[in-house]
């Protein structure tokens, strides 16, 4: 079975992958000189639509359209949701999906690419600095807390600021 992480990148043109990486690097470099803005960027990353979410919404729309036309016009329209669902199964098993090249070109990233930017920003901010210095027994706890997606102090439940 294809691994969950990396399957989107493997199925994307090399040039596009490099663009995504270059842009993420440039953003991390930008925020490295403005650490006080990193918190806000981390929240933006939480709001970013990853590619799986986009695919799910697109399939839902296609399936519903086919269903609606199928019950109002002709049963033949059910072929559309059947194909869309088969493609979704193919995507979950192998990662490939007919609209993947288009969605990547539109700039949608995988959850893993977003996580890489998030943790680079957290490292730049110094979230992981305490890990190697902490005592042996506390090191796991320190690392686990430092890797909280919203920050080391995010023991509190995530609250969205509007």
């Amino acid at each position: 079975m294809v691994s969950t992480v990396g399957r989107i990148r493997r199925l994307t043109a090399e040039g596009l992958n490099n663009d995504f990486e270059r842009e993420a690097r440039a953003r991390v470099a930008y925020y490295a000189s403005r650490p006080e803005q990193i918190e806000r960027r981390l929240r933006e990353l939480d709001d970013e639509w990853d590619i799986e979410r986009v695919i799910e919404l697109e399939v839902a729309g296609t399936v519903f359209t086919g269903f609606f036309l199928g019950i109002t016009l002709s049963k033949k329209w059910f072929l559309l949701p059947a194909i869309a669902s088969a493609m979704l199964l193919l995507h979950s098993a192998r990662g490939t999906y007919p609209l993947l090249p288009l969605l990547r070109r539109l700039g949608f990233r995988s959850a893993n690419e977003i996580a890489r930017e998030r943790y680079a920003l957290k490292a730049v901010r110094g979230d992981f600095e305490g890990v190697s210095e902490s005592e042996e027994q506390k090191r796991v706890q320190t690392a686990f807390d430092a890797a909280q997606p919203s920050g080391p102090s995010a023991q509190r439940p995530y609250v969205r600021s509007v």
Binding site: T4, A29, D50, R53, Y119, V140, A147, Q148, P149, V162
Partner: protein
Amino acid sequence: MRTPPPGATRVEQSTRREVNQKISRRTQATVASAAVSLDHIERRLAELDREWDIERALQTNFGIINVASIILGGLVARPWFLLTGVAAGFMAKHALEGWCPPVPVLRRLGFRTAREIAQERYALKALRGDFEDVDASKPHQALAAAAIDHGR
């Protein structure tokens, strides 16, 4: 109109607190048991790459329900087609709000979000010392390059 929860946390926000906490405790326990040696950390990181996150499980689930309902609707009885429409509605609801009927079941079974898996991955990477040379005394460019290179 209520704003939908942010993308990355929408599933956690629509999961009961006790279930989230149980998943978090289990994650911390696996970090602790992998932290014993570099070999264990490497092996655990490779496992994490293969772990199915909840989106992948749900996509499989939706795909199977849709295909089954269309086959049953075409061959057995038309009312089965209704299931296709209902499933599509729930899939859209899930994409927007992070909730659909299988989510509570899958969460209880221990399926994690990509975000929860990433927390374990980066905690292990920090324990391995991946971020040790991301040192604030470096110039900004070098600091940023070190941080993103270690995210691989």
